[in-house]
Symmetry: C2
């Protein structure tokens, strides 16, 4: 029996990728890269060597249940857990880990977002396997830390104690502190040192470690799932979850556990990771033409244009002339043209449009 | 019996307004201004005071017959003449005038494009009526000359002899010469004088004058319609036209007659005319917001943008941020974003797209 379980968190609404992404169809369910696979499909594909499909779990919103079933038919439908409302990552992780422990108290768990990308899946696999080996029989919590390539202000950082490496895996070292998204001068200071890493939101720990940590740091949250244990895997489960899940505190696993616990480790790695949190990060990640344009769509012509990202549906014809550094995105009868440098305002634009 | 007939030429393909305008749906059949009436409907409306609907004629391509019937149901269907191919304006005018003369040898005719706009229809009516009075019983050819407001290089110019006014109408004077579209220094020279006017492509003359002029200057063309006269208004007419019309020389009425004949007059006028030949002219003509943007569509939001023209179908949602001096147009699943200063390249773009 394979002890390894993978949890894919897929409840996000992707508001920064409007209009490509919308609350009805967030970005994890979209073929953002134009490669023929959606982000959640690419995420599941990435774990093929880590565990069999029947050990993969998806936690998502009730609204997206059909999307998950449709896009990931290989995953057992009883492994698709449905949140009645959004409560950030700690309740999500608690719910799925309490269930996994019921099935296998010795489970070793990878927690992963559904909407990030990884270019070098071979290195990704090597790192994840190394981390799983490390947590299988220890109470360590391992986070994956991405070696930063630029002073990104959109990511949280992990400060590592590089000298405090683990005896069993010299690549893994102790976390000194978690740092919130920095301003630009701070980010520039971070990347001049060699012990700051981007927090990729990927956690590896065994299921007992998860539950023990939540019991210590989030007793209220833990109590809810302790009480629910008797209904897990019964027809009554969803009704109980619908009633009790909204009572969970709205808190991220970083705040709930990582910033409080002691035995936190970071595995610094480089495997071409991006959270694709912004159009700019998609532009940076994607392959560009000689003028630095990223064109995702089948019939896009660019004239006198540079450093743009154009994203349209398959059948759309697009002619762009004379743009430098713009996002042009079209979906669901909605068109956005916006300077890439102003993309943090897209949430505001989409809110105005839906009024 | 009203002697006045109005001819609306509606065979153009509007290639400069792509993608709003396409060969399947050229701009005369589109509600370019977003006012609820297409350009050809506005053109027909403009002549309401000049003659009854049963004296209006439309010459168009066979491809657009249904569009004309649908948009101008008040016009007798036997007044919708169908060209089997495009042969510029001289054969078009010959065909319709030969037919009008058969019905009424004393007809007095206004020839008008279908895709221009006029803001001040009261002044337009006054000028057209004045010109019709002038040509009713003379062999004068009157062109309407627009008082220029800028050194436009996209229009032909009419050089007038302001001293040689007509005794019967002091506003009308002799044409000295027709000038082709000038370069910018030449256009600037023209508008510093007071005797250069834009050629609006609107001609007023009686039907005998038209036919006599064509007989003198275009005997080959005239021979074709002399021969066809016996089939006019018979079921065989279209078949004969389909056979003989392609043999007509491909020539504009300006080259064919205006630049050769002697008795050419110009009626200088100002009634807010534009040929809407370009996106720029539509931008100039339309009402703008405080930032100089023209938004034609129902759900368009502009942020940090100036001097743009945005043209979309009714149901489209559009958000534009950070554009200055651009055309954004969307139709038939085709999107164009182009600097207004580069709009002369739109023909090229549309040709590439349809490959």
């Amino acid at each position: 029996m394979n002890r390894t379980h993978v949890v894919i968190m897929a409840g996000g609404i992707g508001s920064r990728f409007w209009p490509m992404s919308s609350p009805e169809m967030p970005k994890q369910f979209i073929d953002v890269l134009g490669c023929g696979r959606t982000l959640i499909q690419l995420t599941a594909d990435r774990f093929k060597e880590i565990c069999p499909a029947e050990n993969i779990w998806v936690v998502t919103s009730k609204d997206y249940a059909d999307l998950v079933r449709e896009q990931l038919p290989q995953i057992p439908s009883e492994h698709i857990l449905l949140e009645p409302c959004r409560r950030n990552t700690a309740p999500c992780i608690a719910y799925v880990c309490w269930k996994i422990k019921t099935l296998n108290p010795k489970a070793n768990v990878v927690i992963s977002p559904s909407d990030h990308i990884v270019i070098d899946t071979t290195e990704f696999n090597r790192v994840v396997k190394g981390a799983l080996k490390f947590t299988a029989d220890s109470d360590a919590i391992v986070t994956l830390g991405m070696k930063p390539t630029r002073p990104e202000t959109g990511y949280g950082y992990i400060e590592a104690s590089l000298a405090l490496t683990s005896p069993s895996n010299k690549e893994i070292c102790k976390v000194d502190s978690f740092r919130e998204k920095p301003d630009l001068p701070t980010a520039e200071r971070y990347i001049q040192k060699n012990n700051y890493f981007w927090n990729a939101g990927i956690f590896i720990w065994n299921v007992n470690t998860v539950i023990n940590a939540l019991r210590v740091y989030q007793p209220e949250l833990s109590a809810i799932f302790d009480e629910l244990r008797s209904v897990f895997f019964t027809p009554a489960e969803q009704a109980h979850i619908d009633e009790r899940f909204p009572l969970c505190p709205n808190i991220s696993i970083d705040y709930a556990v990582m910033e409080k616990a002691d035995e936190i480790f970071v595995y610094p790695a480089s495997f071409g990771w991006s959270d694709l949190g912004t159009w700019g990060s998609l532009h940076e990640t994607s392959s560009k033409d000689a003028q630095g344009n990223v064109c995702i769509g089948t019939n896009i012509q660019m004239y006198d244009s540079r450093n743009c990202i154009i994203h349209t549906t398959q059948e759309k014809k697009v002619v762009i002339q004379g743009l430098d550094g713009y996002i042009v995105a079209e979906k669901n009868n909605t068109l956005l043209v916006c300077r890439m440098s102003e993309e943090q305002r897209i949430k505001e634009f989409s809110a105005e449009t839906s009024k």
